[in-house]
């Protein structure tokens, strides 16, 4: 009797632990493969989850999606893959994370799997991927991810409202500044994602590259204090001065909201969010918008961000995980997702699909931005550079700091990290 209670408690505790991994246990014990995939949460994840049912039905493989907030995604993936918890079979990783993941041994090379055509399925045509994106997913000569969901910042304007205000659709720096000033004088301005964060740095480097500037000189040395970079930083300051109130604490989603509700007539958002702007159920301005690449000095330039499906090194079912990655990035699945939410595909055939172009009026602007697009640096110390630039651009936009001095400060601050 004395032992009954403690024994029962132990059994209950063991049961709880077992139930914690219940679904996995059930699937595994019935001989059915269950894959766990990691990605960010949101409408895109919901659409993908819906499509995954087709994969489950056709292959008999169960898929569980661990969709969490974007802000915590990298941290959670690293903690799991670093701790070799074997929790994930497939992870969705941004291109800037790949070198770090590969260096840490978190990912499995996909080259052998790609050669196995039966594994990819008949709709998987490797040659159809944008070659530049495959290059980005290749680290030290080995392929570590299948690219999908390309993102690039875009300029959006309300054609009707700009017409009424007598403001022509802007394209260059000068035109954009002039349009934003006119709108600012009328009480609004340009909706700018100038919150201290990566969005601002993504925009700044695209503006800078359009001005023939960059973080590094041709020899690969960090060189921030150049006439081009200073000029771009000054333009960033000028643009911030004629931005909508609140812009210095806005991210892309806040800009989207301001445009959606018809409060902003001109703004900078990201391609992954523009689908919502054209949805008449959500947006007051659907059908009234025009799109352009980011404002440019000499030629349009975009900052490219691409998500990749990567098979983890510690995953339980690598072959099946690759099979799922191939299915998720197949032509048919990519087309379906693009139709559903305006996703920019990594596949050439999908981007050229006339039906899709008719449905997604921003695609020409995306193509224009991607013609000369570049990624953020992907070296080991790149996060330090990004963080320092985030602070500097925020001080320029919100703190009215001197652009040249800010660049000099960042250069001095990072001297030891970028010798």
């Amino acid at each position: 009797m004395r032992l009954t209670r403690p024994l029962l408690s132990v059994l209950v505790a063991m049961g709880a632990v077992w139930l914690g991994d219940g679904r996995q246990c059930q699937a595994e014990s019935s001989g059915q493969v269950e894959l766990v995939i990691s990605r960010w949460a949101g409408p895109h994840a919901d659409d993908q989850a819906e499509l995954l049912k087709e994969f489950e039905k056709s292959t008999g493989i169960k898929v569980r999606m661990d969709a969490i907030d974007y802000g915590q995604l990298r941290q959670k993936q690293i903690l799991n893959m670093g701790g070799k918890t074997r929790a994930y079979d497939l992870v969705w990783a941004q291109e800037v994370w790949l070198p770090e993941y590969v260096a840490a041994g978190y990912l499995r090379p996909l080259d052998e799997y790609v050669k196995d055509e039966a594994l990819g399925g008949k709709d998987f045509d490797f040659g159809d991927f944008q070659p530049s994106l495959i290059k980005i997913a290749t680290v030290e000569g080995k392929l570590y991810g299948l690219p999908t969901f390309v993102q690039t910042p875009l300029m959006v304007y309300n054609q009707e409202m700009l017409g009424k205000a007598g403001v022509p659709a802007p394209k260059t720096w000068e035109e954009t500044l002039s349009a934003a000033k006119k709108l600012h004088d009328k009480g609004t301005g340009i909706a700018l994602p100038a919150k201290q964060g990566l969005a601002a740095v993504d925009i700044w480097i695209a503006l800078d590259r359009s001005n023939k500037g960059d973080y590094f000189d041709p020899a690969g040395k960090l060189k921030l204090v150049t006439p081009e970079n200073i000029e771009t930083a000054k333009f960033w300051k000028d643009l911030s001065n004629v931005s909508m109130r609140g812009s210095t604490n806005w991210h892309f989603d806040d800009v989207n909201k301001a445009i959606e509700f018809g409060q902003a007539d001109l703004g900078i958002t990201i391609s992954g969010l523009v689908g919502a702007l054209e949805d008449p159920k959500e947006s007051k301005v659907a059908g009234k918008l025009g799109y352009a690449a980011l404002p440019y000095k000499n030629r349009p330039f975009g900052t490219l961000s691409v998500w990749n499906w990567c098979v983890t090194a510690d995953g339980k079912h690598p072959r099946e995980a690759y099979q799922l990655a191939a299915w998720l990035t197949s032509k048919a699945t990519e087309r379906k997702l693009s139709q559903k939410n305006g996703q920019i595909s990594a596949r050439q055939s999908v981007l050229k699909d006339p039906e899709l172009i008719a449905k997604s009026p921003w695609l020409p602007a995306v193509s224009e931005a991607l013609t000369n697009a570049g990624t953020q640096p992907r070296t080991k110390n790149a996060p330090k550079l990004m963080d320092a630039m985030e602070s500097a651009l925020s001080r320029i936009a919100a703190g009215n700091a001197d652009p040249q001095k800010e660049l000099e400060t960042v250069q001095a601050q990072l001297a030891a990290d970028f010798p």
């Binding site: 770090e100 609140g246 210095t248 909201k257 996060p383």
Partner: protein, 317 residues
């Protein structure tokens, strides 16, 4: 006396002292056995992680690549002292803690005292309403206030607009006012905690003290400063320790509201440690910042805790 002693001497206790010892030993063993599970949990969840953090703060490493880290001894701690952004975040954290906790305590006491003067049914209803923010997670509070402060669709600017003050208030978008906005959100969320504690403390003050003070002609302020506050001293000390340590470690509400910006004007120590650890992959430095935060908390609130403990020991029956 001798008869009593004689009786005792004749009892079984004195006849078999070894039995007493063995029973005492058994009790002691049982006590140790009962403490072991709790002690094991304590060591496993508190001491081990703390020791690990302390050890890893002496290394320069990335998450997932701990074995490839290099031993840098106290370099991460020295770096903190020389890092202007770290020192600025320490200053901001101290300012935030002092201002937010002071306001919360003053408001909490004021509300609790006012509610105590109202009829019980109304006081209960209002207390329930005022305590609602306590039930919301800080990250949600942050998101909620982020939209409240938005100049385009936020309520704060709507009301400021009605009074013509909208253009004078920088809100979250200006470095000069961002920290103030964060404090307001924090005060809104945590003042109810102070209200609850003080209400509980007030219930323990004998009503006849107030009665006597009234007869002696003491006014409301006199009763507050001469009876209520002195008798709430222990409660307030506990509130100060709990809220003070919480505010010093503030993370979620700032993360949701501003992420530390604009221009690092709301960068708390915890946000700075998070950025260093998870955005810049400098886990050793992030650990050192966490250890420094803990050491500062001990330095600031340790004496208060010690005083509280001595007081409770002194008052023990």
């Amino acid at each position: 006396m001798s008869a009593k002693a004689g009786t005792l001497r004749g009892s079984t206790l004195f006849k078999h002292p070894e039995r007493v010892r063995s029973r005492g030993d058994r009790h002691q063993l049982l006590a140790v056995a009962l403490i072991i599970p709790a002690a094991t949990v304590l060591v496993a969840v508190m001491i081990v992680p703390l020791g690990y953090a302390l050890l890893m703060s002496l290394f320069d490493y990335r998450v997932g690549a701990e074995s490839k880290g290099s031993f840098v001894f106290l370099a991460n701690y020295l770096r903190f002292v020389e890092d202007p952004l770290a020192l600025s975040s320490l200053g901001l954290t101290l300012l935030f803690t002092f201002c937010a906790v002071s306001c919360e305590i003053v408001l909490g006491i004021g509300m609790a005292v006012l509610l105590a003067t109202l009829p019980v049914s109304i006081a209960r209803l209002l207390r329930g309403v005022y305590c609602m923010p306590l039930l919301i997670s800080p990250i949600i509070v942050g998101l909620l206030w982020r939209y409240m402060y938005d100049p385009t669709f936020g309520l704060v600017y709507y009301f400021l607009g009605l009074t013509g003050l909208a253009n004078l208030f920088g809100g979250l978008q200006e470095p000069a006012s961002a920290l103030f906005c964060v404090m307001v959100a924090d005060i809104w969320e945590t003042t109810p905690f102070v209200l609850l504690c003080v209400t509980a403390g007030l219930a323990g003050i004998p009503a006849d003290l107030y009665e006597a003070a009234r007869i002696d002609g003491a006014g409301a302020l006199g009763r507050l400063f001469r009876i209520t506050l002195p008798l709430l001293r222990s409660v307030l000390a506990v509130v100060l320790v709990i809220r003070g340590t919480d505010a010093f470690r503030v993370f979620d509400i700032i993360y949701a509201l501003t992420g530390g910006g604009p221009a690092n004007s709301t960068l708390s120590l915890s946000i700075y440690a998070f950025k260093k650890g998870f955005e810049e992959n400098q886990m050793g430095y992030a650990m050192a910042i966490a250890i420094i935060t803990m050491a500062l908390l001990v330095l600031i609130f340790g004496p208060l805790l010690k005083a509280l403990y001595s007081r409770s020991q002194g008052n023990a029956p």
